[in-house]
Symmetry: D2
Subunit: 388 residues, 4 copies
């Protein structure tokens, strides 16, 4: 499979990344999972290794590599079994930074994108609000122009890196009366007066901080508007393709991790006088699940290839997330079962995996919202176009 | 439905139990879930209310009520959303105490069963071992007769109430060379020298302590043998019917709880200008899941009715656990989804429910083992007979 | 299980019915399946045996037996593997005759119900129309009062026994402007001028004739109105409970038939040196499916018991049909698989079973419509009340 | 998607093929489906158009085109909704002819392959026997060398084109004592004395003839051995990759056909005052199914690409058939449902599609056998190597 998309350079990158993660990250994972907090030093280390800049312009310190380097980064982050650590990284790199890179002015990029690449600044992306995540157009946060500033009021919730990030990329209504045609994007410095954030206690992604954030008359310079006013909705939609594909790739990677772990476990665990990988019922289930994973992986790679070429793959990325996240949940549910009682124990990987994986069909657009989008494309022949 | 099996007395019992739980238990649940420990006082309170004796003989302080009182107890325990608290209670009442009551001598009953009913002593049932849970006959723990004592050596794991219980009902081999024909049951006092226990960190059932236990030359009086020597396996198998039905009932009850909570939530949560219980796709899913739950519930009641009449329902109880636990996992998975991001937050009930429910297809015989049993009954026409 | 609902008399009835079917019906089934036509003589034979009158009043020649005799009749009809023959019988007995018995005048009953019981007259129930089956209220057939007659115009389709029946129980609008509040029921003699019918070519139920019927100024006496004018919709809804439970019972019975056949086949068919019922993957699948069937059966019996007692089980009967028909389709799909290539051959029972079973989730209210009804009951707390 | 694999030439080919099929084939389909027989003239017409030679060498009259032409041929054959017609064609082109081309001598190729390409001779591939299809190594047909001839005895069943073909590619044991190491392949002329064949009555694929064949001392020249003696098993296994991918491609294509038909139907059918494609529950189901189909299609194309490059894709082709055929069955089951009662009528496409599609998980290796193979590859790390 790999030879279709992955060159030798890709493989070298994967290997060095694996070594880095095993040496620098894995020893801390349990601590971070327990504390619900990832220490700052690792951000800087990863930044200094260039991992945050792989698909960003060299002008801002990036490496400008193709999308399959990102795929590798995502896959390997899943395979150290901390959905929360992975989320913290990719929410920074691919939610917050994507907006900076695409719509930020040169000044904004120098101020936020460059230190994001080096790991000195951490970002987050704030779209969801307490009264509604699915209905993006229904958001209530406002940004009112006042002289050369905007005043932000409102609240956001479920924000990854929401408590610890240094800046926030925030969607707010500049023309509330226009619904989704009145949304704009801003970058807001954490230091701004009027921001408070509290941490949420979650089923999984426990190493990642997920915050509820209140903006109380937060005053920001007008230069912190990203792109054009009232174009926020198309920007968000456009970047969703990448986000959804990312979540699809994450899903196939953690499913693969679960399957490989289960395979190993089953080749060692004995019951009724044989290793349990000799029981036909388990063998067939495993063959089925492995196949489901391989098919999603192949699909996701094909979509990554097309996205990398510049195609607008909103339909396919939506499909990728919808199916890969469900597949991952099912694979992990069953791999936990393969471990019997040990599957239920937190010292073994499946318990955390199950908790972490369950976010897949919720975050970044629930499965129901994805089906809505697909129904519009497939049934109503709606055409989604890139923001211009 | 209820009128078919539940009398007015049953309903009164249910109501007073609900009141008790809401007043005495619910305020402590979060603490116990966090601490991984249930405080002693509640055992005594529940004992003094008679809840532990509902289906035990009056001679030992019980109430000798029909099985539908037990069904009510189980159902209501699920509906306060602590699988761990519920498990602690029913493992005591229906795993440990069932063996005492069925095979214990009068002396043993007076010494262990009576205080178990009053809540002064807590029990546990130790069958599973680190090297094998499914393959009961493969257990390695031994009990060697030496004068008027037995010497117990070996280890057990995944034992509910394994660390905090006052006595342990333990399966051990008295004739290892005979496989499942050489197993005997014992009651062992926690105070006996040579017992050590450590607590396991689990995905769910967090209020319940699950222990790994080592027996190092534990000396117990021969009178602590339960029933006859070498009859342990048939005893275990016989009591599995009740255990499996219990786990089936638990499953339909927690699914019902999840559905009722989701119904309420969905009638209040707005998206796109309406409450989300107006979206047809969600409505149909909910109708489907509710139906699955109702069908399992009806089945479980019918089996309880037959078990209560004294029928040997090994096939049906196996079916009950196999399907109800899977149904519950699926219902809860989807109810969590109905809550969107809030489903993922531990302050809302679904996260814990998902974690707790996942034990269903593992404990008390994995789904695979249940299918093995059913295949033997249905395909090979094997007849399971009660131990005599 | 059976002892809960079935007495010795029931069992004797079942046995004699089985003998009758094997002797009088089975030898003709293949012919009728090929011809798409059931010969008249068998109707008379079955009538003379009393099979059509088991739950009808003695006054009209019936036997007035409890609903479990009907359950037995339905089950045994499924087990001779002609969904079409079974449908012809139960559409006559439980669709057409139910309306006659419940809403017909004494005169109508003497003229139509009595010969229906003896098998001299065959009935059908005409609700569905070419432009809409699910939306009953949207029907277009009209009945216009003119003196002491009604004039019927319109068309019906998918009508079981639609071409060969002697009379038709027909829903038509007497007040079209009132939607479902303007529907009335009529019995129409086949001999009436202006009726034409053509037969449809179907995937399954091939022994049964399914007709498209046109009413062109059909003039019928006003006495052929069943019950009150404009009460047709509540009548239909009320009788749906029985119809849906019937379809649920049919489903569990044909699933059981498929499973029993597969069990036998698998105990004889060899592959890789053993009978295929030794392969664990097949064994587990079979155990799972058998369990699904048993659970539906237990549910259906419980609902039959309550319906027999006079409870209004619209929710439960809807659940019965929704889940049992899906279960049957899945069981049969997989049982066909167990036969390998032979499953695909019409000389073996699974091919026809698959074709016949597929009607389950469509006829008598599609699964989607059933979910709509359940959603209204469960989510909107809508109460369906019996017609008064 | 297409642009990744399909050039403009491919698209032109597809268009001209579609026109051919619509003009020359479609008008006869219903007749052939009813008669269970495909008339000879169409074989010759298709041969003269070059369709049978697209991936065969020019030396024998072929066009030597890449595998995506074959993919197009397969896809378009599915989209005229006669699984039987399609099967007759591809069993000829890709089961029988693949063996001739790969292992036939030049003389055999001239005598059989060339007229197969022109459509003057029709072939079939005979592996399955009445006593075992899955267990290929257990076959009982023998080929005994006698001078410069072989004498063939035994029987085969379920053979596509088994009654009407002009030659038969047959697996038989030359060294029965060696199991799968003693199988050889032969081409046998229909005219040979001692061959009898009878036609089977099937659930679907009704236009295709499926035959049971008896070989009674059939004498064939030794030159009709294909390849080397006792290498039949590896030859069969090797060619299975193509066969299984073909069946995967067929499956995604017929699923796509079903979905497109349903989309069209649903955009026209009214219920409750709107077109049924406005009901969210149906929309979401359709979006899900469409996605399943797209993902399988993308996977199948990726595997075709690799097979075309000469990779040995036994694992991937097995995955393709396993999942695509199940997906197709599920898609078609549900698309039939979308049509309501019309789905059950043979004049509408879904009934036949359902019947035809059901063969997918049986023919060319049952799903269970595919899981066996995958389990060996994934769990036991077995490596399948091409025959040398
Ligand atoms: C751990 C975590 C991290 C997150 N990180 C971020 C982040 O970094 N930034 C950010 O902006 N957001 C983030 N989110 C929020 C996430 O994107 C939202 O939770 C999600 O979009 C759903 O929104 P909601 O929770 O408000 O659910 P709701 O919108 O309230 O949905 C409730 C239910 O209704 C369903 N529903 C809604 N509308 C329809 C409809 N039309 N038809 C059918 N069903 C419908 C939904 O599918 C869901 O099942 C995060 C969430 C979590 C849990
Ligand atoms: C929270 C918790 C509480 C528990 N409480 C108790 C308790 O109070 N007392 C007690 O004695 N035990 C208890 N258990 C143990 C429980 O009963 C076992 O975990 C269970 O029986 C499985 O055993 P195992 O973990 O050794 O799995 P294994 O036996 O190692 O099984 C591993 C996997 O192999 C499968 N498998 C095994 N044999 C076969 C076969 N022949 N065919 C196909 N598949 C097979 C299993 O289904 C499983 O998927 C508890 C477990 C947990 C997690
Ligand atoms: C063999 C056979 C025998 C039959 N016998 C009889 C008989 O004896 N008497 C009789 O009166 N009828 C009979 N029927 C008709 C049967 O009851 C109808 O086919 C059925 O009710 C569906 O109606 P329809 O075919 O018009 O489908 P439609 O109503 O056109 O439905 C098409 C699709 O849309 C879906 N749909 C419709 N409304 C909604 C909604 N609101 N939300 C979501 N999805 C929706 C449906 O579920 C279905 O999937 C028979 C049908 C068959 C095939
Ligand atoms: C319409 C049609 C066309 C066909 N065309 C051809 C053709 O052109 N040429 C040809 O040679 N053959 C053909 N076949 C035959 C087809 O390949 C076989 O039917 C198929 O391989 C299964 O073999 P069987 O029918 O003997 O089933 P069996 O081998 O008897 O299998 C019965 C059941 O047992 C299961 N089973 C078997 N072994 C195992 C195991 N180890 N573990 C678990 N489950 C197992 C199977 O999966 C199946 O469910 C055709 C079949 C049909 C129906």
């Amino acid at each position: 499979m790999n030879t279709m998309y992955f060159t030798e350079e890709h493989q070298l990158f994967r290997k060095s990344l694996q070594e880095f993660l095993n040496k620098e990250v894995v020893p801390h994972i349990n601590k971070w999972e327990n504390d619900g907090h990832i220490e700052r030093f690792i951000w800087k280390k990863m930044g200094s290794m260039g991992f945050f800049g792989i698909n960003y312009p060299e002008a801002y310190g990036g490496l400008d590599l193709d999308l399959f380097y990102t795929v590798i980064l995502l896959e390997e982050l899943q395979k150290i079994n901390s959905g929360g650590f992975a989320a913290a990284i990719w929410a920074h790199c691919y939610l917050a930074m994507t907006h900076l890179n695409a719509q930020g002015s040169q000044q904004i990029k120098e101020h936020y994108l460059t230190p994001s690449i080096t790991g000195h600044k951490i970002g987050c992306l704030c779209i969801t609000e307490p009264f509604g995540g699915s209905d993006v157009a229904g958001m209530r946060t406002t940004a009112v122009k006042s002289g050369d500033h905007y005043i932000i009021n409102g609240s956001k919730t479920f924000i990854t890196n929401g408590v610890t990030s240094d800046y926030l990329v925030v969607a707010a209504k500049t023309k509330p009366e226009l619904g989704n045609k009145g949304i704009s994007m801003f970058v807001i410095d954490r230091a701004s007066a009027g921001i408070t954030a509290t941490k949420l206690d979650k089923l999984g992604w426990r190493a990642s901080d997920t915050g509820e954030i209140a903006f109380d008359n937060v005053k920001i310079p007008e230069t912190h508007l990203l792109g054009e006013e009232n174009k926020g909705f198309p920007y968000i939609m456009q970047h969703f393709s990448l986000e959804r594909l990312i979540m699809g790739v994450n899903a196939h990677a953690r499913a693969e991790y679960a399957l490989e772990y289960a395979l190993q476990y089953m080749s060692e665990r004995m019951a009724f006088g044989k290793t349990i990988d000799k029981f036909q019922a388990l063998r067939h289930t495993l063959a089925d699940l492995y196949t489901d994973m391989e098919i999603c992986k192949t699909f996701n790679y094909a979509i990554a290839y097309r996205l990398n070429k510049g195609e607008y793959v909103v339909k396919e990325a939506t499909m990728s997330k919808l199916k890969s996240t469900k597949m991952a949940d099912e694979v992990i549910y069953q791999c936990l079962q393969f471990l019997g009682g040990y599957g239920y124990i937190e010292d073994y990987p499946m318990a955390r995996l199950l908790r972490d994986s369950r976010l897949g069909p919720i975050g970044g657009g629930t499965s129901e919202i994805l089906r809505e989008i697909l129904a519009k494309i497939i049934i109503d022949k709606k055409e989604y176009k890139p923001a211009t």
